[in-house]
Amino acid sequence: MALSFGFYSDAALTTPVASRLQFVQAVADPAAVDRVIWFGSPLAGRMCQAASDPGVDPVTIAIADANSGAGSPAGDVRLALTSGGLDAAAGGDPLVLPETINGGVAAAVPIHIRVLDSTHASGVHNDLSLISNALREAGA
């Protein structure tokens, strides 16, 4: 079975992020664009842990670059658990979530994303993505 845990575009976990999250940047003098998505599961009886050492290792969200050297660098993306945390976050750094994340709307974890283009190269860059570490989902 597929994981019920994943990224959702709303706090109520009704809309999974099924296609690429879009960020628009101006070529010249781009301004940072912030967006928040949620990580969680709408199933209240489930929980999610890192598969490497469940309950000990944290769940992490990394920024993967499928085409390093082209498109956008991972450093153009910052992740944080709060909007205020985006200022202090380092571009390209993974985001550390709790060791155990329970299912249900109330336990959804907001993930704040800030994108600020550094390439100033007109075009559409689809090389970046958010990816969690290997996860183990089970009944809570």
């Binding site: 109520a12 809309t15 993505s129 570490n133 183990r136």
Partner: protein
């Protein structure tokens, strides 16, 4: 045993509270698309632009199968909808469209520039297949209706409205036992100085109805010729004013006191006329039987001094100690009455809605106190003294006795009244008043925002609901806020356009908002009921008044002994009694009461601009 070790066993038998028992592994992913865009892509200067749509239904790219026109439209407080037509790959596809996730992107190309923009994120609502054309038309919409319905708490609903809603637990309560998030959302939506929408990327947005500096201004060269319309609201659609009223139903509680006193006749009349004495029990019975009135504390009854009085005409009036203990020589007492009036405080404000019609709109709401005024009024006074101990009560009452011990609170000031609203607190009142005014504000703002300017230009997906744009073309100069947007792309002709509707309200401020405060009006109730100085009324006497006003016949009513020289068999004879008639409470102090008071506040509607020259 090896078979029962390891993760395979754990996974097979792992069950969770309420959840499915299986263990799943994997990773969560979400792709990012960063579109680095030059504004030159949206320039209408001479040159050529090409475009390509990317439509994904479910996980299938159907872009190559599109046919005809592709339309996307969005408006405030409603779902974004998209309509597209495509050639199904097979008959089996027809069963699989409904409910599938849909994204629509467009990539614009201009020499040396490219921009990809998402235009729609939603799901297929309905599919219609035309057999003759072998085309299927998909009607899609985003999750604007589903988002509120998925909320599990009041806080989640309020968060959807971005903190702009004015809440009132009295007027619009949330029930954890029977949650109705949609109704709660719709109720709160009527109070926000703005609108909601889901943007093209599927992100819920709350925009304030504030019109500041425009993000872009489009001159004539950026707008399609003949596409500009200026629309004013029909007179019937916009009221001239919105009256907002909040009725707060509670009680005005009254308290009044009347002092009562009486003195016995001279002892000689007992000898000469054979008058009876007034018994203490008769007095107490009479005082306790006055309808609606109670005895404050304990009446002060004075007994006669035992002894022999006289002689009068050779006779004596004798009072033994045993008789004296039963006789009332004089007394003073205070009788009280507490009663309530149903009181309705009506708070109101009138908001100018800017309409030219003579019709007024109204926002009405009411809240009611749960105070049981009837029980408050009728509760008997409890004794302050313990019924167990005759003396040396181990738990004597504290403080100075008031004579009102045991009566339920509140205690209005003596001979006055107090407005009591039970469980309605001052914050409750303020929140309710604010919500009523907020609703009036939104109606007024919505009415004024019906003045719109609509124009079309080449596809421009940069602007979402709430964006502030300006136009200066075709003799129309206007600045307003995008309230509707429609994108249309024709796959066959290559034509593409965006139509924007700008709300250009004739407002009265820079921001849409309100202020509202209300307080309970002071009452000036004073009761001044006359004291009752009771007397003695002797019947069957030559001195008996032949036809007194019955209302004045109060006190001790008795008759001359028939053996007395003063006995008159033709004079009116009284029924022996102690009679007490208390003053009436005037109708204006008893009947339901309505007090009108104004809400102190103001409503502002952010103003756009519109100028027409031709």
């Amino acid at each position: 045993m090896a078979a029962f070790d390891g993760s395979a066993f754990d996974a097979s038998f792992d069950i969770g509270g309420g959840g499915a028992g299986g263990v799943d592994t994997g990773a969560a992913t979400a792709g990012l698309s960063i579109s680095v865009v030059s504004p030159l892509v949206f320039s209408s200067s001479s040159g050529s632009i090409s475009w390509a749509p990317l439509v994904v239904v479910g996980a299938v790219d159907v872009s190559a199968r599109l046919s005809g026109s592709l339309k996307i439209s969005a408006a405030e407080d409603s779902a974004r909808v998209a309509t597209l037509t495509l050639i199904p790959a097979s008959a089996a596809d027809l069963d699989g469209y409904e409910g599938q996730a849909v994204t629509i992107d467009v990539t614009l190309f201009r020499t040396g520039q490219a921009a990809t923009w998402r235009l729609f994120t939603g799901c297929v609502e309905r599919s219609e297949f035309s057999l003759s054309e072998r085309l299927v038309t998909l009607s899609c919409r985003d999750g604007w209706q589903e988002r509120p319905a998925a909320c599990a708490s009041a806080a989640q609903v309020e968060a959807l409205l971005g903190g702009l809603a004015t809440t009132s637990g009295r007027l619009l309560p949330w029930s954890d036992a029977e949650p109705d998030p949609v109704a709660y959302f719709n109720g709160l939506l009527e109070t926000i100085p703005g609108a909601t929408a889901i943007d093209s990327s599927g992100v819920w947005q709350v925009v304030r109805w504030d019109i500041g500096a425009p993000a872009a201004t489009f001159p004539a060269g950026e707008v399609f010729d003949g596409s500009i319309d200026v629309i004013t609201a029909a007179r019937a659609d916009v009221p001239s004013a919105v009256h907002a009223t909040l009725a707060v139903r509670g009680h005005r509680l009254h308290s009044a006191e009347v002092d009562v006193d009486w003195n016995a006749v001279h002892y000689s009349l007992y000898i000469l006329h054979g008058l009876p004495t007034l018994q203490k029990a008769t007095v107490l019975d009479a005082l306790g039987a006055v309808s609606g009135w109670g005895i404050r504390g304990t009446p002060a009854i004075v007994e006669p001094t035992p002894g022999s009085y006289g002689p009068v005409n050779g006779s004596y009036y004798l009072v033994s100690a045993e008789q004296a203990a039963l006789i009332c020589q004089s007394f003073t007492a205070t009788l009280y009455r507490r009663w309530y009036q149903e009181a309705e405080i009506v708070y109101s404000i009138t908001v100018d809605a800017g309409g030219a019609s003579s019709r007024d709109d109204s926002v009405r709401a009411s809240i009611s106190s749960d105070f049981d005024a009837s029980a408050w009024e009728s509760a008997p006074r409890a004794a302050a003294i313990s019924p167990i101990y005759a003396a040396n009560d181990p738990h004597p009452p504290s403080g100075t006795p008031t004579g009102y011990e045991g009566l339920p609170e509140p205690h209005p000031p003596t001979n006055s009244g107090v407005d009591h609203f039970g469980d309605i607190t001052t914050p409750d009142l303020q929140a309710a008043v604010s919500q009523v005014v907020a609703r009036a504000m939104r109606r007024a703002a919505a009415g004024r925002r019906r003045r719109t300017v609509r124009f079309a230009r080449p596809l421009d997906p940069r602007w979402e609901i709430g964006a502030v744009l300006a136009i200066n073309a075709g003799g129309v100069s206007a600045t307003g806020q995008v309230s509707e947007v429609e994108h249309e792309m024709n796959v066959e002709s290559g034509a593409l356009s965006s139509t924007f509707t700008l709300a250009v309200p004739d407002g009265n401020g820079a921001a849409t908002g309100y202020t509202a405060t209300a307080s309970v009006p002071a009452n000036s109730v004073i009761h001044n009921l006359p004291d009752q100085h009771l007397t003695n009324w002797v019947g069957s006497s030559f001195e008996t008044i032949p036809d007194p006003d019955p209302d004045t016949v109060q006190g001790f009513l008795c008759n001359v002994d028939p053996r007395s020289d003063n006995y008159d068999s033709e004079a009116p004879a009284y029924v022996t009694q102690f009679r007490l008639v208390m003053p009436d409470i005037a109708a204006p102090l008893r009947d339901p009461l309505t007090v009108e008071t104004a809400i102190t506040g103001a409503v502002t509607v952010s103003s756009g601009s519109l100028e027409i020259n031709f």
